[in-house]
């Protein structure tokens, strides 16, 4: 599970000799399993993911192969589990199940393609194995957007701190404007980050245990359309109210406290910002 997410975020299709290179940007192509126009930095990937120079980072192609094996083993677990459910009490059935139990989730993956995992054809197994890898380019880009925003903000903080320490920040109007316009950045970074965190788990609700499509309640489409619309409407109204209040108080600044000591209340001369007060 952790291996899949690393390989997907980094668009690492093939297992390469350690230490692996890190792809900074590129165009991951899921069909061909390659990344076009990739710019790579040697060694970095091996270093950050294995913290060593000699451990390998497994590529997606090898992971798919490994998943195919686990799916086959999962079918055995699935069959034995069904036997146990139907009242089979042989110790041997139980022993075989225990042996393949760790792959039961992989056996369940087949249920997206066939009614009963035990009836899966030889064509469906590789199909399910391929489907056990999330869409690489979504993860690849979301992760990079998050990281880029994060580093940009750290840079802004460092610059602002430097200017503030020198007592020059009030005079630097460009920097002040940039700071105001960058307020949405952390929220965007957070949402992209959560997208990566959740989407990388595809197709699992519980990693290697329970596929997402089996986890859902048997609701009707109309139930869901109504509830989604309800949630979106309700929360959007709340969000608008929140934004209105935030803008109102934030614009006023500390003069919203009505102490008569600040900025908008003293004719904008900011006299009272003297900390000696």
């Amino acid at each position: 599970m952790q291996k899949v997410k690393l390989a997907a975020i980094k668009a690492e299709w093939d297992t390469t000799p350690a230490p692996a290179a890190f792809t900074v940007v590129g165009m991951p192509n899921q069909e061909k399993m390659e990344t076009g126009g990739a710019i790579t930095i040697p060694w970095v990937m091996g270093l950050i993911t294995t913290r060593s120079l000699d451990k390998q980072v497994e590529g997606i192609k090898d992971l798919i192969e490994n998943h195919e094996e686990r799916i086959r083993s999962g079918i055995i677990a699935y069959k034995k589990l069904n036997a146990l459910r139907n009242g089979d009490t042989f110790d041997e059935t139980k022993a075989v199940f225990e042996e393949h139990k760790a792959d039961l989730g992989y056996g369940l993956l087949l249920k997206a393609y066939v009614e009963d995992s035990a009836d899966a054809t030889d064509a469906q197994i590789p199909q399910a194995a391929k489907g056990s890898i999330p869409h690489v380019s979504y993860l690849f880009w979301s992760f990079r957007i998050m990281v880029a925003f994060g580093f940009f903000m750290l840079l802004l903080f460092a610059l602002s701190f430097y200017k503030l320490a020198k007592g020059k920040i009030e005079k630097n109007l460009t920097l002040l404007k940039v700071l105001v316009w960058c307020i949405p950045l952390p929220w965007l970074a957070c949402e992209f980050g959560w997208f990566v965190a959740e989407f990388e788990r595809r197709p699992w609700a519980i990693g290697e245990v329970l596929p997402t499509f089996l986890a859902a309640s048997a609701l009707t489409v109309s139930d869901l359309v109504v509830s989604i619309a309800g949630y979106l409407l309700f929360y959007s109204v709340l969000l608008v109210i929140e934004m209105y209040l935030m803008f109102r108080f934030a614009r006023l600044g500390p003069s919203s406290l009505h102490t008569g000591r600040y900025h908008h209340e003293t004719g904008g001369d900011m006299l009272s910002l003297n900390p000696a007060e």
């Binding site: 997206a112 404007k177 245990v209 489409v221 969000l239 007060e277």
Partner: protein
């Protein structure tokens, strides 16, 4: 076979609510610590301006906090309404950190948020600082427990499928709690919260 449409819609619904929820969470996580700093400086120096500073940012914090709670609660209901089989299959494991989050951290957080908003004139400044610290600790503890639950979904340690009950059962609470993935996620999430709050404060101050 399972109709993919309602599964997709359930995913969209959870994703939409989760994204809304996390518009409010990171600011709560970070801004509380910034309030702690302001109050602490006020206690140490006794200068009025730090108290006013803290009062101003508390106002913005309160608006944000109210919405964080409203959006968070509905997410927890969705495990039952939209992910029934999930809850059946792993509920015993996943439910534990979720319940601890609700009982311990969220209660701590809510109680002290009341004191934060209403206690300014009724408590002395050291008591008030203690309240602010507890709010900050409460919000961050909430994040910890919910991330323990989330990390278990990524890396389901400390549990096994049982043929007796035909579902996942917890083998070791400690393994679930000290899941390595959870620790990494926690650091990353609270750090994101601190960055968010810093950007919020610096941006509004720049205005």
């Amino acid at each position: 076979m399972i109709d993919p449409t309602f599964v997709e819609l359930s995913r969209w619904q959870f994703a939409a609510v989760a994204l809304y929820h996390f518009l409010f969470v990171p600011l709560t996580l970070g801004l509380t610590w910034i309030l702690v700093i302001m109050e602490a400086v006020y206690v140490i120096t006794g200068k009025e301006i730090y108290r006013d500073m803290s009062r101003f940012w508390t106002k913005l914090f309160a608006i944000n906090f109210a919405l964080g709670v409203t959006t968070g609660l509905t997410m927890e209901f969705q495990f039952g309404t939209n992910w029934a089989y999930y809850s059946h299959y792993v509920g015993d494991v996943f439910g534990a950190p979720l319940a601890i989050e609700g009982l311990m951290a969220f209660f701590l957080e809510s109680i002290f948020v009341d004191l934060l908003l209403l206690g300014r004139d009724r408590l002395n400044k050291v008591q008030y600082l203690a309240v602010v610290v507890l709010v900050a600790a409460g919000t961050n503890l909430s994040a910890l427990w919910i991330l323990v639950a989330n990390a278990w979904m990524q890396n389901p340690v400390g549990s096994e499928f049982s043929t007796e009950t035909m579902r996942m059962e917890m083998m070791s609470f400690w393994e679930v709690m000290f899941n390595l993935v959870a620790q990494v996620k926690f650091i990353h999430t609270v750090a994101a919260g601190y960055v968010t709050a810093s950007m919020f404060v610096i941006g509004i101050s720049a205005w």
